[in-house]
């Protein structure tokens, strides 16, 4: 077998142990120091990249509307998926998740879900019918030790920048779900009550020596390991003590005290990174406006022309495909399409109504953005008239 787990040489093992006896770690850190933490974000909301020393983890959050579980009809779902690439560590096998992959997923899942860090009830759209199912994918890109902590931070960072599209309930029976385009209505962030931070401790030499954030090499030599998931308020969300040496309860208590300090520290780091990301994102939005102002003038020009000749109007009224485009909500049209087939006129008119309410409800800014952002500005300009015609019919 070529794919054996990496084992340190005798020299490394002995040196790491003997250095720890004299309170030295091979990377020059103190016992309770974390490695350098770097959090960055992708171009899209809900993706994060965390580097903890050599360890490199990518977090990605997605959401979709699903039917809720029967026993919890008014709660959304949160699921954690892990992906251990053989590129990160030759010991990882592709395809089948290994022992460590399952453990990592479970520990993070327990920390995040069972401590109710993410508000699940706010993810409910229609009780018993449609709820948001949030999926967190964690990709291990490089294994430099202490994957659990890094993956946990990646999950939290991705969740705190994730935005789900806003949706409202409407339609004839009041059960139809309309998912609003992110361009029309600003997507909503998740409600995160608190940040459960995983802090991993490694025990050496019959549990007498404790270090936090073990590196890859230290993990290979370690006698025992414990992960405490704790938030900045000091609430313990989960503890995982997997095998290895037994630890005195006094040591565990000491570890928990250290963990709460570390958790507060890491929470502030995550929040800082998220804040700077969101402000950067907001600034980008602001910058877009002046460039698009001239386009707005164009739009008014088009309306002027339209009033002049009626040809364009009649054209749009003739073709039903255009009517669908006008309602400009891809998700809505997709959802309602079956409905439309049966009673086309009714569905269209109801759709148009929804459109009116949504545009009037949205702030003036978003309406502007809607007009400016889309190349269909011509049709938009005609829309009110066309609707009037429909209503008359």
């Amino acid at each position: 077998m070529e794919h054996l787990r990496w084992r340190p040489s005798v020299n490394e093992r002995e040196f790491i142990e003997s250095a720890l006896q004299s309170d030295l770690r091979v990377d020059g850190r103190h016992s309770f120091d974390f490695r350098k933490l770097k959090i960055s974000f992708g171009r899209e909301d809900g993706s994060s990249e965390v580097q903890l020393g050599e360890t490199h983890v990518l977090g990605y959050v997605t959401a979709q509307l699903v039917q809720p579980y029967r026993d919890r009809p008014n709660e959304g779902t949160l699921a954690i998926f892990t992906e251990f690439s053989p590129m990160a560590d030759p010991a990882f096998e592709s395809g089948r998740p290994g022992e460590s992959a399952i453990e990592l997923g479970r520990v993070i899942d327990r920390g995040l879900r069972e401590s109710r860090a993410v508000d699940m009830e706010s993810l409910c759209v229609v009780a018993g019918k449609q709820v948001w199912s949030v999926r967190v994918d964690l990709h291990i890109l490089d294994n430099g030790g202490n994957l659990i902590d890094a993956a946990n931070i990646a999950a939290l960072a991705a969740l705190s920048t994730f935005r789900r599209p806003e949706c409202t309930v409407g339609g004839d029976d009041g059960q139809q779900v309309i998912v609003h385009d992110p361009e029309v209505r600003d997507p909503l962030p998740l409600t995160i009550h608190h940040m459960p931070i995983a802090v991993t401790f490694a025990y050496f030499g019959e549990g007498n020596i404790v270090v936090v954030d073990p590196t890859y090499k230290e993990e290979a030599v370690v006698g025992g390991r414990m992960t405490a998931t704790i938030n900045s308020n000091g609430d313990i969300c989960a503890i995982q003590k997997a095998g290895g040496e037994g630890v005195m309860s006094s040591v565990v208590m000491q570890c928990l005290r250290i963990a709460s300090v570390k958790a507060a520290d890491i929470t502030s780091k995550i929040k800082k990174a998220v804040d700077s990301y969101t402000t950067e994102k907001a600034l980008k939005k602001v910058k877009r406006l002046p460039a698009s102002l001239p386009q707005k003038i164009n739009v008014t020009d088009v309306t002027m022309e339209d009033k002049g000749d009626g040809e364009l109007e009649t054209q749009t009224v003739k073709t039903p495909s255009d009517v669908q485009e006008i309602s400009k909500d891809p998700a809505t049209t997709g959802k309602a399409s079956s409905h439309e087939d049966a009673q086309p006129m009714l569905a269209e008119s109801s759709n148009a109504e929804v459109k009116i309410t949504s545009s009037s409800g949205a702030a003036g800014e978003s309406e502007e953005a809607q007009e400016i952002g889309s190349p269909k500005s011509l049709k938009d300009a005609i829309k009110p008239k066309h609707k009037r015609k429909k209503n008359k019919k």
Binding site: N11, R13, S18, S22, L24, R25, D27
Partner: protein, 239 residues
């Protein structure tokens, strides 16, 4: 036929990437050139197959020096290996290559069937590559060409860490690499560098070993002056 020197490739001592045409053979007549790693003949041209610095050893040896995590064994390299298994005839040694290397039990100075060294799994060995091709596992030896032990063999104590192959080549370069020179002025330590990107450091005090190893690991992307400054900074913090 007048004997003139082959014109050196214009790319010598500069970075090449796979696909770069290093030499055009059609312009060269009646000359022999020797290709090392990272180069391949493609019809009338010599092309690079890996990214790195193109080197020329006068008069006619070309190779590409690259820095990577994995090691591709080549003959006469000195490497640091870890014993992963023992067989009656061979020790199986991990040298960070694509395959484990064989170290015949008799390839030690004065090695006979009677005095086979006992290496437990995980023993660190400083050895020389004597056979390397893509069809067979590489073969190591703990003797120099003259059959003497010459520093080869088991390394006891100390600490081993991994760097890139480029870093280990830099440490072995002459004149002495700035980081080692700066460290050596203030500290006394023992060091063994394998071309497979493994470095072993030993010193009486563990703190010295940790300092030296971290200084070396950090110096990879630094220039000579920055390396010296970094070492001085580290030494100041220690004292």
């Amino acid at each position: 036929m007048e004997s003139r020197k082959p014109p050196p490739s214009p790319l010598v001592d500069s970075y090449v990437v796979p696909g770069d045409v290093v030499l055009d053979l059609s312009e060269m007549t009646n000359q022999t050139i020797k290709l090392g790693t990272g180069l391949r003949q493609e019809c009338d041209t010599i092309q690079a197959t890996s990214a790195g610095m193109l080197r020329l050893s006068k008069p006619n040896k070309y190779w590409v020096e690259s820095s990577q995590k994995r090691y591709v064994p080549s003959v006469e390299d000195t490497v640091l290996g870890v014993v992963v298994d023992t067989k009656p005839d061979n020790f199986l040694v991990d040298i960070k290559g694509p395959n484990v290397a064989f170290l015949p039990v008799l390839s030690f100075e004065g090695g006979t069937r009677r005095n086979i060294p006992k290496f437990e799994i995980g023993t660190l060995i400083y050895a020389r590559v004597v056979k390397a091709n893509s069809f067979m596992n590489p073969e190591l030896s703990c003797m120099d060409a003259a059959g003497k032990a010459a520093e080869f063999g088991q390394l006891k104590g100390g600490y081993m860490f991994d760097t890139s192959t480029g870093m280990s080549r830099m440490l072995l370069s002459s004149p002495t690499c700035p980081v080692l020179e700066a460290l050596g002025k203030k500290l006394s330590f023992e060091i063994a560098v394998g071309l497979n990107g493994r470095v072993w450091v030993n010193a009486p005090a563990p703190s010295t070993v940790i300092l030296v190893s971290n200084a070396i690991m950090r110096s990879e992307s630094l220039s000579g002056i920055k390396q010296r400054a970094m070492v001085e900074n580290l030494l100041e913090r220690l004292s």
